[in-house]
């Protein structure tokens, strides 16, 4: 296997858009094992923080340092977007695409893709253009696409928002399997129950800053800040 890309050190990083600071300054270390869940109100910057980690956002200031060289780091992580980005191809081709990019030959890629398609119960639609899939089906497909490449670091932005109870369970199972097999997972969710089920540690974002950070158990049992307390109660935060 290639060299370990984690831990990642983010130092004093912030992201600005059109002159407005969206998140930061952020100081964050991502260790090489674990299951982190990022929580926070809408617009608090969860997606932006995930994108910063992934390298999709260039920090205005500050640094972001991987354990490996940048190229390896980039090749060894997958991102599942909040709004699924589907290639204008069939469901199956959506999964084979990144595999073929990695140099896997077409047949092997198709076999792997078929395996994943059946894991997410989409066999019947594997040759359907991805645009015609239902909201939940798209979300499952983009998850399968990410898992199929077997990344060291998996970043998931609200992967189960459109999924029903049983699909959520299945996906959570897949994630836990990947986690146990050594994949480092960072994920956002609005589902507090899901946070409790999956998280080992929690990052609580508030107005673009890390407001609380710690073990999941203690966060859910006795959140420190007033804002986290209100968030967990589902109260309106001012």
């Amino acid at each position: 296997m290639v060299s370990k890309i984690l831990p990642l050190q983010i130092k004093n990083a912030s992201v600005k858009k059109r002159g407005k600071k969206i998140i930061g300054p952020i100081d964050l270390g991502i260790s090489d094992a674990g299951f982190t869940i990022i929580m926070g109100p809408n617009g608090s910057g969860k997606t932006t923080l995930m994108r910063l980690i992934h390298g999709l956002e260039n920090p205005r200031e500050g640094t972001s340092t991987w354990n490996s060289d940048l190229k390896t780091a980039q090749l060894s992580q997958s991102f599942v977007f909040q709004t699924p980005i589907m290639l204008r191809r069939t469901a199956l081709e959506n999964i084979t695409y990144p595999l073929i990019l990695q140099g896997i030959d077409k047949n092997t890629a198709a076999n792997v893709a078929h395996k994943w398609i059946s894991k997410i119960n989409l066999e019947a639609s594997s040759n359907l253009n991805a645009r015609y899939l239902s909201g939940g089906e798209k979300q499952k497909l983009s998850l399968a696409r990410a898992l199929a490449t077997n990344p060291q670091l998996l970043l998931l932005d609200e992967p189960t928002a459109n999924l029903d109870g049983s699909a959520t369970k299945e996906i959570e199972k897949l994630l836990q399997d990947a986690h146990e097999a050594g994949t480092r997972i960072i994920m956002t969710t609005h589902d507090i129950g899901q946070g409790k089920r999956l998280a080992e540690d929690i990052i609580f974002l508030y107005r673009g800053n890390i407001h609380e950070l710690g073990m999941a158990k203690s966060f859910f049992q006795k959140p420190v800040t007033r804002e986290a307390q209100a968030f967990l109660r589902g109260d309106i935060l001012e």
Binding site: L56, F79, L87, R88, P98, L101, R131
Partner: protein, 234 residues
């Protein structure tokens, strides 16, 4: 007005008389134009994609210049190609002047900026969709361009067809570099110009109608091969 009616009638007569000279001219027109369109597409489409995916210092200027090159006056292109290919020019030894190859070269120069510009516009929209995913998948520039051209192929068809349209109707450049030599480099448009100069307006129109019919047939053929308008693929 009589000329127009007379032109239509003689267009039919010409077609049904299966005039050998006419077919030679039609064939050469198609051969020159289709070759030019294919070459220009192979150059222009990746160029458009390249401009869509790259951010560099003089990008705006480059795009503006590319757009401006859509306005290259055919006569000027013809002149420059003529000068290059003429005996005393740098490529004179190739002996290409007044051959179909010279005409293809001129047409490629004229339609490549058009195809590249329209491709750029079409691919820019797709790139906005794909941007995050392709960056996240750590694709190389070359892979991005390839993926975008492949998945935007339906929109890119318009670019090729616009190029075809411009080339099949063009006369200024190929007149100069082809010379409109009978049985050698005469195509529909140069024949039309010739008949116009002779004052044979009805015959010129007849050839014009044949050219338009040809363009419609080619377009229908391409549409039905690519099945783009059937059950929209995306």
């Amino acid at each position: 007005m009589n000329d127009i009616v007379e032109g239509m009638l003689s267009a039919f007569r010409l077609i049904f008389s299966l005039d050998a000279d006419l077919f030679e001219i039609i064939l050469l027109s198609l051969q020159v134009t289709l070759t030019a369109v294919i070459i220009a597409s192979v150059i222009g489409m990746p160029m458009g994609a390249w401009l869509a995916v790259n951010r560099f210092r003089f990008r705006r200027l480059t795009i503006a210049v590319l757009n401006a090159l859509m306005g290259l006056p055919p006569v000027v292109v013809g002149l420059i190609v003529y000068i290059m290919l003429s005996r005393s020019g740098p490529f004179g030894v190739l002996n290409l002047l007044f051959t179909p190859t010279a005409m293809i070269i001129a047409q490629v120069i004229i339609i490549t900026p058009l195809i590249a510009s329209i491709s750029h516009q079409a691919i820019r929209d797709l790139w906005a969709d794909y941007h995050d995913l392709l960056i996240s998948l750590n694709t190389t520039k070359r892979q991005r361009i390839f993926t975008l051209v492949k998945d935007a192929r339906r929109s890119l068809l318009t670019a090729s067809l616009a190029g075809f349209g411009r080339a099949i109707g063009e006369v200024g450049a190929i007149m100069i570099v082809g010379g409109n030599i009978d049985h050698l480099t005469r195509v529909l448009t140069t024949a039309i110009a010739l008949e116009t100069g002779k004052g044979e307006f009805a015959f010129a129109l007849a050839l014009g109608f044949i050219l338009i019919a040809l363009a419609i047939i080619v377009n229908l053929a391409i549409h039905s091969i690519s099945k783009t308008e059937r059950a929209s693929n995306w």
